[in-house]
Amino acid sequence: MDREADVAEARIDQGESPFRANFALGENSSATPDAGAPQQIAVTAKDVSVFYGKKQALFSVNLNIERNRVTALIGPSGCGKSTFLRCINRMNDTIEGCRVTGEIKLDGTDIYGRGIDVVQLRARVGMVFQKPNPFPKSIYENVAYGPRIHGLAANGRELDDIVEQSLRRAGLFDEVSDRLNTPGTSLSGGQQQRLCIARAIAISPEVILMDEPCSALDPIATAKVEELIDELREHFTIAIVTHNMQQAARVSQYTAFFHLGNLVEFGPTEHIFTNPTEERTQDYITGRFG
């Protein structure tokens, strides 16, 4: 039997799309060793357009986000990268006059379909924002809040475990274990951001969206968050918007470049930063236009 067909079949058996990841790519589209073996697709975006009133902000974007990989979204301000990110957990619903067309699937389910509970969706797709925004509550309560309202813990002890494990995964536990009852806002900026990440992962989401998570942090705190991102991808799928090209290069396995509402190029990060296919990508990452 044809071996290649065999492999392809096996992949489909695992529920994996045979045409993954490479929509806007040219000839050098093969995944690099850095991107690793092909993974299942966590999020599929098909023909996604977004309108703010009459103004179109995103034009027919097709993009697959692989499971347990970090996908970086880069591009100049106003290019649509944050808009796209916010489509994935329907944060755009909260914006007056915002309309999303096309299809976004999370594990094969259309998240804009009927009967989708947005609150449940956001439990599966967590988000971390640019500015650390802990609740005005204790460190413990910041992390415990989500699991509690989603009923993820049967008793106080289980909740304690979830809080501890989330803080550990966020690399924060050792720094705060002796003051879990102090306000989250008393922490430093970098710690606050890791607290927000702990809060996001406490409800065991599948996907974590990060919108410029380090732009308000100093280099040391940034490095800690980047290290954390790399560890988190073992359990989660991560999409990160960043203005820092070096950060995209450091933390992601796949990079998508947006410009003027279009997805210009998408591919393995290594490829995008060493030999992009599209001239616009090249101009942007080498600092040739603003």
Binding site: N28, A249, F273, N275, T286, G290
Partner: protein, 234 residues
């Protein structure tokens, strides 16, 4: 390609290209000067070539330092990144070419103390060819012209052909009279040095290809140096 938003970045990249071009110019000069010193039996000229090799070494150091600084301070990406890495490699190739030219000059000094040998006449032909390759491949680098670079890359076959025939000629001279062996061996090394310069020019051609296209040359390079298989009988 469009210019950088930060102009000083462009200036630095251009300066690095300029340094490479200057190195190439020096190497060309050295190749011709060393062969002239040989043909005209001009020992002063040969000494001059040996002394001038330092200029090329210094430029290589400079290119290396510029590259390090660019990497540290500018974090170049994509084509800019490829320019920085290829510049370092090209500078290393040029530096080695300079060494070969200096070695030709050193052997010219030795040959000038011996009786002239006839095959000396085909050495300038090889020198001319490789000097042309160096010139064209550096033009290709400055102009980012892949086709020109690949033309140089293929031209190395001609150098190999000349080298092969000189090799055979030298063998017959040496068989004729053992007294010819010393000058002929030096001559053989001189030819080999020039042939190696051609090989380094093909390396640079490959770097130019990578710089522009971001991937290695796909075709196999024609190889014409058959002397590894030669015997006096063949």
């Amino acid at each position: 390609m469009t210019v950088h938003i930060v102009k000083s970045f462009d200036e630095e990249l251009n300066r690095m290209t300029g340094e490479i071009a200057q190195m190439g110019g020096f190497v060309e000069e050295q190749i011709m000067a060393s062969v002239n010193a040989l043909v005209r039996r001009d020992s002063d000229k040969a000494q001059e070539v040996i002394a001038k090799d330092k200029r090329i070494d210094a430029l290589e150091d400079e290119v290396e330092q510029m590259a390090l600084r660019l990497l540290a301070l500018r974090q170049p990406l994509a084509a800019d990144l490829r320019l920085v890495t290829t510049a370092v490699k090209i500078a290393a190739d040029l530096e080695r070419m300079g060494d070969y030219a200096a070695n030709v000059a050193k052997r010219a000094l030795t040959l000038n103390k011996l009786d002239p040998v006839r095959p000396v006449n085909s050495v300038p032909r090889i020198a001319e060819l490789v000097q042309g390759m160096v010139k064209d491949v550096l033009d290709a680098f400055v102009e980012r012209d892949v086709e020109k670079a690949l033309a140089v890359w293929r031209r190395d076959e001609d150098v190999d052909a000349y080298y092969n025939s000189l090799f055979r000629e030298l063998l017959t001279y040496m068989m004729e009279d053992p007294h010819h062996i010393t000058p002929c061996i030096h001559m053989l090394f001189i030819a080999k040095n020039l042939e190696r310069i051609g090989d380094h020019a093909t390396n640079i051609a490959e770097q130019v290809n990578f710089l522009v296209r971001g991937k290695p040359v796909e075709e196999a390079r024609p190889k014409g140096d058959l002397t590894a298989y030669s015997t006096p009988e063949s």
